[in-house]
Symmetry: C2
Subunit: 192 residues, 2 copies
C-alpha cells in the first residue's frame, strides 16, 4: 500500500536491525486519514470473502480494525491481554508467547461475539514472530468460525511469523513488507 510505505519512509525510525518505530502514525499518535485508507484497502482486498466480523487485539490493532469494520459493515472485537472490569465470564482464551519477554500471557475474547460459522478477518499492526496472530486464529477456531484471512499493516518478512501463518494455510494480506532494517534503512520486500 503506497501511502503506508510513504509514511514508513518519511516518518519511520529504524531503531535497530529488528525494530522499526512508527509511533508518529500507528503505535502512539495515530493518523486518522491513514487509518481510513487502511480500512478501505482491507475492505477491497477481502471484498469477496463475505467477512462477518473483524477480530483484532488491543491496543494498536484497534484503529485500523475499526476503520476496516466501518468500510466492510461489520462489528469489530478487540481481544484483551489483561483483565477487564466486565470481561469476566464465558471466554475463549489462548496463550501468546513473547520472545522478548520470554513469557506467555493469555488473550481473551467473549464467546458471545463470535458465532460458529462466521467468517472472521483478523487484523493487527505488526506481524513479526506471529504469536499474537496465531493466538487470535486459535480463538477463531475454538469458536468454530472460519478465518477469512489475516490482514497486517507491516510484515517484517525477516522474522518467521508470515511464513508460519502461510504454512498453516491462512491467507495473509500485508500492506507493507519489510525485508530488512539493516544499516538504519528500511528495505521493502515486494508484494507476494
Amino acid at each position: 500500500m503506497k501511502l503506508l510505505k510513504e509514511k514508513i519512509v518519511n516518518e519511520g525510525i529504524v531503531l535497530n536491525e529488528n525494530v522499526l518505530k512508527v509511533d508518529s502514525f500507528i503505535n502512539h499518535q495515530m493518523d486518522p486519514v491513514l487509518m481510513k485508507e487502511i480500512g478501505k484497502e482491507f475492505a477491497e482486498r477481502f471484498k469477496d470473502d463475505k467477512v462477518s466480523k473483524i477480530l483484532t487485539i488491543e491496543s494498536s490493532g484497534i484503529a485500523p480494525a475499526i476503520m476496516a469494520g466501518l468500510e466492510m459493515g461489520v462489528q469489530v472485537i478487540f481481544a484483551r491481554k489483561r483483565k477487564s472490569l466486565t470481561l469476566t465470564e464465558n471466554l475463549y482464551t489462548s496463550s501468546v508467547y513473547s520472545f522478548t519477554k520470554q513469557e506467555s500471557n493469555d488473550i481473551t475474547v467473549s464467546k458471545q461475539y463470535i458465532e460458529p460459522g462466521e467468517n472472521v478477518l483478523i487484523i493487527d499492526d505488526f506481524l513479526a514472530n506471529g504469536q499474537a496472530a496465531l493466538g487470535l486464529a486459535e480463538i477463531v477456531q475454538q469458536a468454530k468460525a472460519n478465518i477469512s484471512g489475516i490482514g497486517v499493516l507491516i510484515e517484517k518478512s525477516f522474522q518467521p511469523g508470515a511464513e508460519e501463518l502461510l504454512a498453516k494455510g491462512y491467507r495473509l494480506e500485508s500492506l507493507a513488507r519489510i525485508a530488512s532494517l539493516n544499516n538504519k534503512q528500511v528495505e521493502f520486500a515486494p508484494e507476494r
Copy 2:
C-alpha cells in the same frame, strides 16, 4: 446523544449499582457505525474550538477518538498505561489512582506529539471517578498546551469525576449521563 442512549438501553447490562456493562458495542466488541456517529457528535460540539489534537488513553478510548480525529481533521494520540517497545524516552507522565485496585499507575505520552499552545480535546469512554481524565489533563498542562475540553461517551453522574472536572473549570461534553444504576435499571440524567 440519542443513538448512544438507545444502544445503552437495548444492549447495556447493569451488573450492579456501580457498573454498566457495554461490552457489546464499546468495551470489547465495538460498533463502527456508532463510533463514526460519536466522532461526528464530538466534531460538532467542538467545531468552534480550533482543536489541533485529540488525546485519549488505551484501550476503549481509541475507537471513538480516531473517529473524532477523522471528522475533525486532527491527529490522535493514545496515552499508554504500560511500557511499550518503542515509547521509551522524552515522555510526559502522570500518576492515575484506581479506587478499585487501590493503587496508582503511570500513564505516558511522548513529548513529541503535543506542542506548547496546541488546543487538545481529551476523549475517553467512561467518566466515573475521573482519575484517568485528570491524568490526561495534567499531561496536557505539562506540555503547556490548552485543554479545549473533555469528551466522554458515558458519564456516571453519581460518581464524583464529572463534578471534579467541572470544578477545575474544564468544559465537559458527556454524550450520555447516567444518574443511577439502581434496581438493575439505567436512569439517565438530563443534558447539562
